[in-house]
């Protein structure tokens, strides 16, 4: 249960413009503009090496941008002010934990530095670790460990939550549970920046999808608009043993006469489907390396 409403100090939770960052000769971020509204769940997609991790680490205060404006909850994250860190939660990939710490201890200890931590039992129940509260971190399975990471990320009741591939290594059931939890957090008003490789995850959870490619934003839209935009639908059916398949931007107009004549003759169009390209198709098209 989420009871605390986010304190609105700025209209947008994250405001980034012209951010650049290079590692030696490699330009990891090449002028990124990004705005995340309060309460929004934004999925950040992009192939490995696109600059996702660098961008997120700059927003978290783990890295410094070479150039550009970065405001997160009204703060400059690079200054790592305590008042800033008290308002965010971070779930990184593969983060170490004291091997001898127990699940309950970890949640209690790591949330103690926040001004208004969530109740430990409530957090354990939210992530489904209440049965493993006394277990040592080193004895948890991969999926349980990831859920503990999630627990530690939300234990301080953050206004803004960074989730870096939160469900990697989850079985389908655990993934659904995590999605439910993330959805509930969003409903409670938490702003969430999610990076993921699972298109389905972005499709189910995100209000908006931003695709990074070679250090730049190459797409920024809501997931449905992104998968519908510009791309064509595929119409497919069988008639008189003949397989018909065509691509069209106007499936309704094209199908109307076909359906009308088939119905008039009392025939059934076998296996009739109209499919739209999935987010994954669009993503692959967007991020395809030029040959």
């Amino acid at each position: 249960m989420i009871t605390t409403a986010p304190q609105t100090t700025t209209a947008s939770a994250i405001q980034v413009s012209g951010v650049r960052r290079a590692y030696g000769a490699v330009q990891a971020l090449d002028g990124v503009d990004l705005t995340v509204r309060q309460g929004e769940l934004l999925a950040l997609l992009g192939p490995n090496g696109a600059g996702k991790t660098t961008l997120v680490e700059i927003l978290e205060g783990h890295r410094i941008a070479d150039a550009g404006e970065v405001r997160v909850l009204g703060h400059d994250p690079a200054r790592r002010e305590r008042a800033f860190l008290e308002r965010i939660g971070i779930v990184l990939q593969e983060t170490g934990l004291d091997p001898n710490i127990t699940v309950r201890e970890a949640v209690a200890l790591y949330s103690a530095a926040y001004p208004r931590p969530r109740d430990v039992d409530e957090v354990l129940e939210l992530v489904g670790l209440d049965q493993r509260a006394g277990a040592r971190a080193a004895t948890l399975s991969g999926g349980q460990r990831r859920r503990l990471d999630l627990a530690l990320g939300i234990a301080g009741d953050p206004e803004l939550l960074f989730l870096d591939e939160p469900t990697t290594g989850f079985d389908p059931g655990a993934r659904r549970q995590a999605w439910e939890l993330i959805g509930r957090l969003r409903e409670g008003g938490t702003t969430i920046l999610l990076t993921t490789h699972y298109m389905e995850e972005a499709q189910v959870l995100a209000d908006r999808v931003v695709v990074l490619g070679r250090g730049r934003v190459i797409a920024d839209a809501d997931p449905d608009a992104l998968s519908a935009g510009g791309a064509e639908s595929i119409v497919s059916y069988r008639l008189d043993g003949r397989h018909v398949r065509f691509a069209t931007r106007t499936p309704t107009a094209d199908l109307a006469p076909i359906l009308g004549s088939a119905a008039a003759r009392g025939e059934e169009l076998e296996g009739l489907t109209v499919t739209r390209p999935s987010l994954e198709d669009v993503y692959l098209e967007l991020t395809e390396e030029p040959r």
């Binding site: 978290e60 205060g61 783990h62 890295r63 410094i64 690079a78 790592r80 305590r82 860190l85 008290e86 965010i88 971070i90 990184l92 593969e94 983060t95 170490g96 934990l97 004291d98 091997p99 001898n100 710490i101 201890e105 200890l109 790591y110 103690a112 530095a113 926040y114 001004p115 040592r136 530690l152 301080g156």
Partner: protein, 257 residues
């Protein structure tokens, strides 16, 4: 309610001590190993006297117990912190902590204090066994000085352990780094046997490092008429400050690039 930093420090120190007590490896190293050394060599050499740097002859265990106490402090504070911090860096534990509002000084302070408490407990255990079993004498009037020396020594070696933990590039490097820095210095500093007739260049070399000063100061508390010298304690303070300075700088830089 915001927990005060003092409150936070207390919670993290308690947690660090708990983690150590739950680790069989840490228990064996910090508590069992020095105890075995003291009882074994104390029994073998019982009845023998050794000359101490401060002048007088004392029974073997009277010198050896505090000297191995210094070794116990080194294991608990120096070796374990080098390995602990290097591992925390490599596994991303440090990055996790730096992503929370927990202040870095509180976090490092908890590592340091937790290690110091473990080390001091290990020294106490040595004496609890050595006094009745090996006839080691304790001089009550010297106890305040002995305790002060132990605390300064633990803080000094702990700070240096933190610093070297940040200098190790990987956790795998940490163990050899700890041993290769400690062992040679320990031989010329009187941890294993008193240094009385060493060439002066060797004594000067040993004097540069804090370990010989810790051995001298702590041993002096267990020799009749022995005195803790201010210069020994000063060396501990200076080295401790240098270590802490390096550790904080390196850790701030390591988690923000």
């Amino acid at each position: 309610m915001i927990a005060t930093d003092f409150n936070l420090l207390g919670r993290w120190i308690a947690a660090r001590v708990r983690f150590t007590l739950r680790s069989p490896r840490a228990l064996g190293f910090t508590f069992a190993f020095p105890l075995v050394l003291v009882t074994l060599f104390g029994s073998i050499n019982s009845g023998q006297n050794v000359a101490t740097p401060s002048g007088g002859d004392v029974p073997f265990s009277q010198y050896y117990t505090p000297a191995i106490g210094v070794f116990a402090i080194t294991l608990a504070c120096y070796t374990s912190l080098i390995i602990g911090i290097a591992t925390a860096r490599e596994t991303g534990l440090l990055k996790r902590v730096r992503g929370t509002p927990l202040p870095l000084p509180v976090y490092l302070g908890a590592w340091l204090t937790g290690a110091a408490l473990t080390g001091i407990a290990s020294v106490l255990l040595l004496f609890v066994v050595a006094v009745p079993a090996l006839g080691v004498d304790i001089y009550v009037s010297k106890l305040p000085e002995a305790i002060l020396t132990l605390i300064l020594g633990a803080a000094c070696l702990g700070s240096l352990g933190l610093a070297l933990g940040t200098l190790a590039k990987t956790a795998e490097q940490a163990q050899p780094l700890a041993q290769l820095t400690f062992l040679p210095i320990s031989f010329i500093s009187g941890v294993w046997f008193p240094i009385t007739d060493a060439p002066s260049w060797l004594t000067h070399l040993a004097d540069f490092f804090p370990l010989s000063h810790l051995v001298n100061a702590f041993s002096a508390c267990f020799v009749p008429g022995g005195n803790v010298e201010a210069k020994d304690l000063l060396s501990l303070v200076i080295w401790g400050a240098v270590g802490m300075f390096i550790a904080v700088r390196r850790l701030r830089a390591a988690t923000l690039s």
